[in-house]
């Protein structure tokens, strides 16, 4: 086990109990007992922590894989357009009023993610290269974004409008074991697929021709990536809305502590993503805010945008 992995595991072991105790109502083992503490822990905070760990691990690893696949440190799992398409599916469930019926909202989001994957397949085809696929992903993202805006503008009532806008901000508030049961298996399968793709991602560091000469089948790798990113991002958006920047930031944080191969950044990125989302969600919970708690998607974007800017400036300095 390498040093960054040991460090991240230790940090997670410390952060998980802290996240269970932290919130509007602090539960401290050294203070007088809090009424309904068991229910708060088991029904509210534990599923929320498990969901943060699951989504964070998925998004972190997906970001590392996407950066390896596109050989670009600015790549993000959102580039395939799967997240906006999943969000469009969810928005349509609000628009049509089906969102209130249990599993329908995540189901619509997963259908949106699946639709994006199908559209990518139609546009890029079997022989589509990385550049064509990325452009197809950007087109899907743009189309899904436009349709989402259309759904918002044609929102049937102010309540639906408010629900859509709030949901799009991304959050883990009020999520329970049902969301964990939906997202965890899909994310796990996505992570396994990424793990299988890891050697091919390493070969791709040498360029597409050299990777093929090392036995990489580009079409198979492309479909492994779409399947993995689709499962991870689609299930994440389905249960928590839009949560950006994790996949972009986390691989950069861990890469200096690895040998820089995409395969060796996958596991640290998954652990760091889990840690980041857990801590960010804790912060959202304990931060006093009038009218509720800070949305997780907003807090990560507030942290992510300056990070992205710093990255761009650093790259500009290196090029100059």
């Amino acid at each position: 086990m390498t040093r960054p992995i040991r460090f991240l595991l230790t940090a997670l072991i410390l952060a998980i109990p802290l996240s269970l105790l932290a919130g509007q109502v602090w539960i401290s083992p050294f203070s007088p007992p809090v009424p309904n503490a068991t229910a708060i822990l088991m029904e509210l905070r534990l599923p929320r922590a498990v969901l943060a760990l699951t989504l964070g691990a998925g998004l972190g690893a997906a970001g590392a894989a996407m950066q390896g696949y596109l050989r670009n440190p600015l790549a993000d799992p959102g580039l395939f357009g799967i997240a906006p398409a999943a969000a469009l599916g969810a928005v349509l469930s609000f628009y049509t009023g089906y969102a209130a019926q249990g599993i329908t909202l995540p189901l619509f989001a997963l259908i949106g993610a699946g639709g994006a994957m199908g559209l990518l397949a139609l546009i890029a085809g079997r022989a589509g290269g990385i550049a064509l696929f990325t452009l197809a992903g950007m087109m899907v993202a743009s189309l899904a974004g436009a349709l989402t805006s259309l759904a918002i503008s044609l929102s049937p009532n102010p309540f639906a409008l408010s629900e859509i806008v709030t949901w799009l901000m991304g959050a883990l508030a009020d999520r329970g074991w049902a969301e964990v049961r939906l997202a965890a298996p899909l994310t796990f399968v996505g992570l396994v697929v990424l793990w299988r793709a890891a050697p091919a991602l390493d070969a791709l560091a040498l360029g597409e021709a050299a990777a093929r000469s090392l036995g990489v089948d580009p079409a198979r790798l492309l479909w492994l990536m779409v399947a993995a990113i689709g499962l991870i991002v689609g299930s994440g958006v389905a249960v928590a809305g839009m949560i950006g920047f994790v996949g972009l930031m986390v691989p950069h944080m861990v890469r200096p502590f690895t040998d820089q191969r995409p395969s060796s950044t996958l596991l640290p990125s998954a652990l760091a993503g889990a840690l980041l989302l857990l801590l960010a969600d804790c912060l959202c919970r304990i931060m006093p805010l009038k009218g509720g708690e800070l949305r997780l998607g907003i807090s990560l974007s507030l942290a992510g945008a300056p990070f992205f800017l710093r990255l761009l400036l650093k790259m500009r300095r290196e090029i100059a």
Partner: protein, 243 residues
């Protein structure tokens, strides 16, 4: 033996037939756009001909599983791009990807290759700190770490100074003497004349000449293919081309 039989790729190669033998350095020469890189990529199984076949010891290359082909043919592309700032040792280790050997065996083979190309002192240096010559040797070491029977390299000597060109050309000859087949795309005709055992000259996608360097790169062939009047000077093995 690596053989191309009547290979045609529209607008690039026309009915190219060539036999490449292990134990030899074969140079592919020709003017820009002659189809040198396309022929090399086809021989490596990376470009699919519209007609014709490539066989490796009698087996159709197109029918070999990709990992099997990768273990037998090492390919060094012209653009030596590497996406991440890997260390020399890590980059060379990528050559072991087609093999399913364990990490101990992989580390042993990587150490051997690093030693063979005098890269041991640089093993832990990141790529961004290497000179052009060191980088070229590192990229070749990555191919050698696969331990392929065939080494196909696209202009591996370009952008190197004279001393590094000579050293790397010597490395290729040593590999061929050890029984490997080495196929190089070379622009410098003097390097091909002095360091190759066999030369294929391409012109507009067709084989213009092939054979021993002194025949395939004769002054008459150079006049016909490159449209240049030239004269070879010096002794065999130390030839220079005067224009």
């Amino acid at each position: 033996m690596l053989e191309a039989h009547g290979i045609t790729i529209p607008q690039r190669l026309h009915d190219v037939t060539a036999q490449l033998h292990p134990g030899r350095v074969t140079a592919i020469c020709g003017p820009n756009g002659a189809g040198k890189s396309t022929l090399l990529a086809t021989l490596a199984g990376l470009a699919i001909p519209a007609s014709g076949t490539v066989t490796l010891t009698g087996q159709l290359l197109a029918e070999l599983p990709p990992e099997n082909r990768a273990r037998r043919i090492g390919y060094l592309p012209q653009a030596g791009e590497v996406a991440w700032n890997l260390s020399v040792r890590t980059l060379v280790g990528l050559g072991r990807l087609p093999h399913r050997t364990g990490s101990v065996e992989n580390a042993r083979i990587v150490a051997e290759v690093l030693a063979a190309l005098d890269l041991e002192p640089l093993a832990d240096r990141p790529l961004s700190t290497l000179s052009g010559g060191e980088r070229a040797r590192t990229l070749l070491a990555r191919v050698l770490a696969t331990q392929p029977q065939w080494i196909l390299a696209d202009e591996p000597l370009a952008a190197l100074d004279l001393a590094h060109q000579r050293n790397l050309a010597h490395s290729f000859r040593t590999l061929a003497r050890a029984g490997r087949g080495v196929v190089l795309v070379v622009h410098d005709l003097a390097l091909a004349m002095n360091h190759a055992d066999h030369v294929i000259v391409l012109d507009q996608g067709k084989v213009a000449a092939q054979g021993k360097p002194e025949d395939a790169l004769s002054e008459a062939v150079i006049a016909k293919v490159w449209n240049l009047k030239s004269r070879w000077l010096g002794e065999p093995g130390h030839r220079a081309l005067a224009l």
